[in-house]
């Protein structure tokens, strides 16, 4: 299998690297909507964002933000776009998940706008209900783990505080007057 981005991250192809760490790599794109467009992608081969582990997603977008700031400051642009193309229907050209950071200038004639699609109320409602169902499930998946940790911490802290106050803090306060 031949993947252009895998070739880049294995250094089999020459590329202009802007950022690199153990997990991700960022290069200046050769085919770009605007010169200075950066592609940032994981070294590991994932085709779409859904397959990328959360810690990698987390880091890649933090770096994307830093790259966006670097574009503002080094090229003097007035804006940036951050774009993920997920699937060929969404304009993805290389079957390897990537985040594109595009520098934007006044009058660059790039049209990243879209026409508002006129929807029937019921179309909107069915989409809303379906997505809400998924969204609610998302919420349930996330929360329990965090709460467990918090409760444990809170208990130990409470005990320490109480003991501490009884032994030292309260006595010291009482002594002063």
């Amino acid at each position: 299998m031949n993947c252009d981005y895998c070739e880049i991250s294995r250094k089999k192809v020459k590329s202009e690297i802007v950022y690199e760490d153990d997990l991700i790599i960022g290069v200046v794109k050769d085919m770009a909507t605007f010169p200075g467009q950066i592609s940032l992608f994981p070294k590991e081969h994932y085709t779409i964002i859904e397959l990328v582990p959360n810690p990698v997603v987390d880091r890649i977008f933090q770096i994307a933000n830093k790259i966006s700031i670097a574009l503002f400051e080094s090229l003097g642009v007035q804006g940036t776009n951050i774009i993920v193309q997920n699937g060929t229907a969404a304009g993805q050209k290389v079957p390897h998940f990537s985040v594109d950071v595009v520098p934007r200038k006044d009058g660059d004639n790039l049209n990243f706008q879209w026409k508002t699609k006129q929807l029937m109320d019921d179309e909107m409602d069915t989409a809303y209900l379906m997505l809400k169902e998924e969204g609610d499930r998302l919420f349930i998946d996330k929360e329990p783990k965090k709460e467990e940790i918090k409760i444990q911490d809170a208990k130990t802290e409470m005990i320490l505080e109480k003991e501490g106050k009884d032994n030292y803090l309260l006595k010291q306060l009482n002594r002063r007057p």
Partner: protein, 251 residues
């Protein structure tokens, strides 16, 4: 009609007020004017599909396609650079899951995650947001032609952007990086032996300058070839550690 002169005066007073405002006050003012902050508060009705302590996802009322979702941080930020690192990561992890539900539930053929930073980039509201747009073949959304960027330009761009990026990342890491630099120097001891105290210190200084001002880097690379092998070894090792360190911070 009698209201007009009053509004003019009000406008002048208002403009003066704006000039006097501190950045914090301006942010507060922007927040009060922001429709998305009111949507998040629930003062303006919306179709929310997801909410947690940091962010809200809702259906876009001017969608590019059925199922176009907006993801907003609850805190009012106008552009991405203002957002703390921890929140950015979280936002996009949520975006990933929302994209997944678009693919699964609406059976869309693909999705775009799109961010516009600044007016020229197409940002319309003053509240930072992510667009998650379901896509179909041939729907002509976000279809922007690409052109070849010449190799020379690419090399120059990589240098300029890369230097700035290194500066940004190193500034933040500096405090925690210091002990690491010391460690590396001690690791190199056996190679340098007696010369260590004389050489090691200037090397650190040069390296720091190198990171801060991009202009010195050119001179430095020229120097590299003249300098002895041992010094080169130090440099390469140190850069490796630096990068790993940055990576660890983001873990």
């Amino acid at each position: 009609m009698p209201e007009q002169p009053v509004t003019d005066e009000q406008r002048k007073a208002f403009e003066e007020k704006l000039k006097k405002m501190s950045p914090a006050e301006l942010k507060e003012f922007q927040k009060q004017q922001c429709i998305f902050c009111q949507i998040i508060n629930g003062k303006v009705p919306s179709k929310k599909i997801y909410e947690d302590d940091k962010c809200v996802a809702l259906m876009d009322i001017n969608p590019a396609a059925i199922g176009h979702v907006l993801l907003l941080p609850k805190e009012h930020y106008s552009i991405m650079p203002q957002i703390p690192d921890s929140e950015i990561g979280r936002l996009f992890v949520v975006a990933k899951h929302l994209s997944q539900s678009l693919l699964r539930k609406l059976k869309s053929e693909g999705t775009n995650i799109f961010v516009a930073n600044g007016l020229v980039a197409g940002q319309k509201a003053q509240h930072f947001m992510l667009h998650i747009i379901p896509r179909k073949e041939g729907d002509e959304i976000l279809n922007v032609p690409e052109h070849l960027v010449e190799l020379d330009t690419r090399i120059k761009l990589a240098e300029v952007i890369g230097n700035r990026l290194n500066g940004l990342l190193n500034n933040k890491v500096k405090k925690e990086e210091k002990p690491v630099v010391k460690k590396v120097v001690t690791d190199v001891k056996p190679i340098l032996e007696k010369k260590l105290p004389e050489i090691a210190i200037p090397v650190i200084k040069e390296e720091k300058k190198d990171k801060i001002t991009p202009a010195t880097k050119k001179n430095k690379t020229k120097k590299k070839f003249l300098v002895e092998d041992t010094e080169e070894e130090i440099e390469t090792k140190k850069e490796d550690v630096g990068l790993d360190d940055i990576a660890n911070l983001f873990r």
